[in-house]
């Protein structure tokens, strides 16, 4: 299972109190993980990615194994530690707005 840590507003929206875990068949790409998260929690559709274009929302960021995947290709492979479930993909609300 792939572990995913969501920002607090999206955890509340999805009714989660901690991380979520989703099954993703190899190859474990960023896009595949996001699709699995949206499939498991349909209320999150449109809150992480634009529903029309699939593009990351401007003030959402992705981090995995200490690396910034925010500008990575949707087909970028997740690091081995995330793909193996040893650490989560971090979905983060950008520090913005003062």
């Amino acid at each position: 299972m792939i572990r995913v840590a969501l920002p607090a507003p999206l955890r509340a929206l999805a009714g989660l109190t901690g991380e979520t875990a989703v099954a993703v068949a190899a190859p474990v790409t960023l896009e595949a993980v996001l699709e699995a998260v949206e499939a498991a929690h349909p209320m999150l559709r449109g809150t992480i990615r634009d529903p029309a274009t699939g593009a990351r929302r401007a003030l959402v960021r992705f981090f995995a194994a200490g690396a910034d995947f925010s500008h990575a290709s949707p087909r970028a492979l997740m690091p081995a530690s995330v793909a193996a479930g040893r650490e989560p993909l971090l979905i983060v609300g950008a520090i913005a707005g003062g």
């Binding site: 929206l13 809150t47 992480i48 029309a52 929302r57 003030l59 959402v60 707005g97």
Partner: protein, 371 residues
């Protein structure tokens, strides 16, 4: 009727205020959806337990929530607002074409007869409709597509469809207002549309009497007289006696005819309310005095209502969707401020009391009558 429920949307969540028919003691619940901007909540006129809420965030976009139990529990519904067909362009601030981009829902207007049927006014300006209780949304594309859409331009607050009025006679007539495009009317339940801005004069646009381009802040009607409309424009308070075919100014003796909301008394179709604001750049009351103005003559002659409202050092604003009336007798009237106060009057505006004083900035107020 035994009670009143006031639905409050704020910059950081929603609140529900309830009272009995005396409207003296209030229970406050919330915040719901804490941290999110709640542009609007509204209940179905035929099922007061059915509520809809527009929840949005600069980070996470649009969410639509629905409650079937009067706001005790909520469920996220569809947030898929897709413009129909070729999206097209409107004018950007520099006058150049700019593609329509969905940003948020400003206003939700449940049908007068069907709790599953709801209209949603969006930014960038468009009208959407659900017939399945917000499980799916379809654009009523005749509004953007009727011909003037490519000339619409955003106001300072964005290009938003913020007002939706449904003709209670069952004619299928719908009025909407868009900043900064103007007022529009459909006579066939939203299929086809046309601008209804004749008589409006806006000195701040290239053609002051243009067919579209007016920054209409709010329109209101009384259910017994749906051909009579009242409008708070960017500047000017206006009235139409022919369902928007023509407008005339009724600003009369107001200290400023700039403002955002306009409201109609529940039982007196010619009693109307506005909250004058100093100017388009100074969004606070003239002289630092928070005054609601009431006309009992359908406009032109206005009286200041001040009892219980701050009459010095007050520099809050009252946004366009932040006033409402109840249906009790005497009529109750409510408004919320950007300073986080919600004021209520149980006697049609003669005396005011704050229900709460320290909410986040209030964006919207709606009132429901409870059985």
């Amino acid at each position: 009727m035994s009670g009143v429920r006031v639905l409050v949307g704020t910059r950081k969540g929603a609140f529900i205020l309830t009272s009995d028919g005396q409207r003296q003691r209030w229970d406050v619940s919330g915040p719901l959806f804490g941290g999110w901007e709640i542009y609007h909540l509204k209940g179905s006129p035929v099922d007061p337990n059915r509520l809809y809420a527009s929840q949005s965030s600069g980070w996470f976009g649009q969410v639509i929530q629905r409650s079937n139990d009067g706001g005790q529990t909520w469920a996220p519904m569809s947030n898929q607002f897709a413009y129909a067909g070729v999206t097209g362009t409107h004018q950007w601030y520099d006058g150049k074409p700019h593609p329509w981009e969905f940003k948020r829902v400003w206003h939700l207007e449940p049908s007068l007869t069907d709790p599953d049927l709801v209209y949603a006014g969006a930014e960038d300006a468009a009208l959407f409709r659900t017939a399945d209780g917000a499980q799916s949304w379809q654009e009523l594309a005749g509004l953007r597509g009727h011909g003037s859409g490519s000339r619409w331009q955003p106001g300072a607050g964005g290009m938003c469809l913020h007002t939706i009025l449904l003709d209670p006679s069952g004619s299928g007539r719908i009025f909407v207002a868009i900043s900064a495009a103007g007022a529009f009317r459909s006579d066939d339940a939203g299929l086809t549309w046309r601008p209804i801005n004749r008589g409006l004069r806006s000195e701040y646009i290239p053609e002051p009497t243009a067919e579209v381009g007016h920054c209409v802040h709010r329109i209101a009607m009384h259910r017994s007289r749906p051909q009579v409309l009242f409008m708070q424009k960017h500047w000017d308070v206006m009235r139409s006696d022919d369902a928007g075919e023509s407008w005339r100014e009724i600003s009369g003796n107001l200290p400023s005819d700039f403002g955002f909301p306009i409201e109609v008394h529940a039982h007196e179709p010619d009693t109307i309310y506005v909250v004058p604001i100093k100017s388009d750049s100074e969004h606070y009351p003239p002289e630092g005095k928070l005054r609601v103005y009431r006309s009992r003559t359908g406009g032109n002659e206005w009286e200041a209502l001040t009892a219980g409202l701050p009459q010095r050092d007050c520099y809050v604003n009252v946004l366009r969707d932040a006033t409402a009336v109840d249906a009790l007798d005497p009529c109750g009237i409510y408004f919320g401020t950007t300073g986080g106060q919600v004021y209520a009057s149980a006697d049609a505006g003669d005396r005011w009391t704050p229900i709460v004083q320290n909410f986040p900035a209030v964006v919207s107020i709606e009132v429901q009558m409870l059985p």
